[in-house]
Symmetry: C2
Subunit: 174 residues, 2 copies
């Protein structure tokens, strides 16, 4: 009996550890974005890093591309097209001069992520559901709310530029 | 008996899941860097994102700051000084123009992470062991090998600039 209790305690501890640490993949929450019906995936901020980027011009941001487990596996193994279940998240922040680093170096040196900017975007792979757009559903959320339909419509036309790479601009940064 | 077997199977499955998904924190592997005796933490590339940055000038890179579980928790909760066990990783890649995005936008637009550059750096918090340097041990690895002692010596003097923020330049990007 004592052994069973021990084993049960271990199960509960492990289940709790998994619940705490596991990157969410399919779960979603909140409002549904128009056109592709995508919701913000639960705990996407805990996903692992695919790559980073800086956008110039009007966008003027620093960004990170995160992926759920399916996305990370496919990115690392170079599998294309991405399998169904892939979700890629694009986060972006203001492009801000870091004054402390300018002091340390004695000249303009570092730009870092400031407050969030340009919304959070998701690409969701479902080859059956989104067959008309290369198997991808797209969504942008601003401050946690879906952007309007006009904004959502701009996603696919831009990503078509990289059709040869399964419509994904980013490449995995090792 | 059948119940015990079931529970044991569940334990093994969960233990395997934890081993697969848990970000490594304390484990380390490979050669030890001079001065602070830091090794490359196991599976640091799976750690969660703290922030991103772009360095100008000679560094000319895009970088990501990742943290182990202790670092992420402290970063999100704003706890300073960082607790013992914190490890922060700084990865960097070449600053590369993304031609496909220039085509899509019709002008210079995106810079993305190219091949790795400027080594991988770690800050390890151990207030007792590294008491003489604000509780932090520093290390840089180039292509997986510790950089020489002259390079390692430059870390602390630069990070002293941000002593008021526990010697850490980056701020958590929400």
């Amino acid at each position: 009996m004592r052994r069973i209790v021990f084993v049960l305690v271990a199960v509960v501890a492990l289940a709790s550890a998994v619940a705490h640490m596991a990157p969410a993949s399919g779960q979603a929450d909140g409002e549904t974005a128009p056109i592709f019906g995508v919701k913000i995936p639960a705990r996407y901020r805990d996903w692992r890093l695919i790559s980073v980027a800086h956008e110039e011009g009007n966008l003027n941001d620093l960004r990170a591309i995160l992926g759920n487990d399916v996305a990370i596996k496919a990115s690392r193994e170079g599998n294309r097209p991405f399998p169904d279940g892939t979700i890629i998240a694009r986060l972006a922040w203001s492009y801000v001069r870091l004054e402390e680093s300018e002091k340390a170096f004695g000249h303009l040196q570092s730009f870092v992520a400031g407050p969030p900017k340009n919304g959070v975007q998701f690409m969701v792979k479902d080859s059956r559901k989104y067959g008309a757009t290369g198997g991808w559903g797209f969504a942008q959320f601003d401050d946690g709310k879906p952007a309007d339909e006009a904004v959502q419509k701009t996603c696919f036309s831009c990503h078509e530029t990289v059709k040869a790479r399964d419509f994904v601009f980013n490449r995995y940064a090792p």
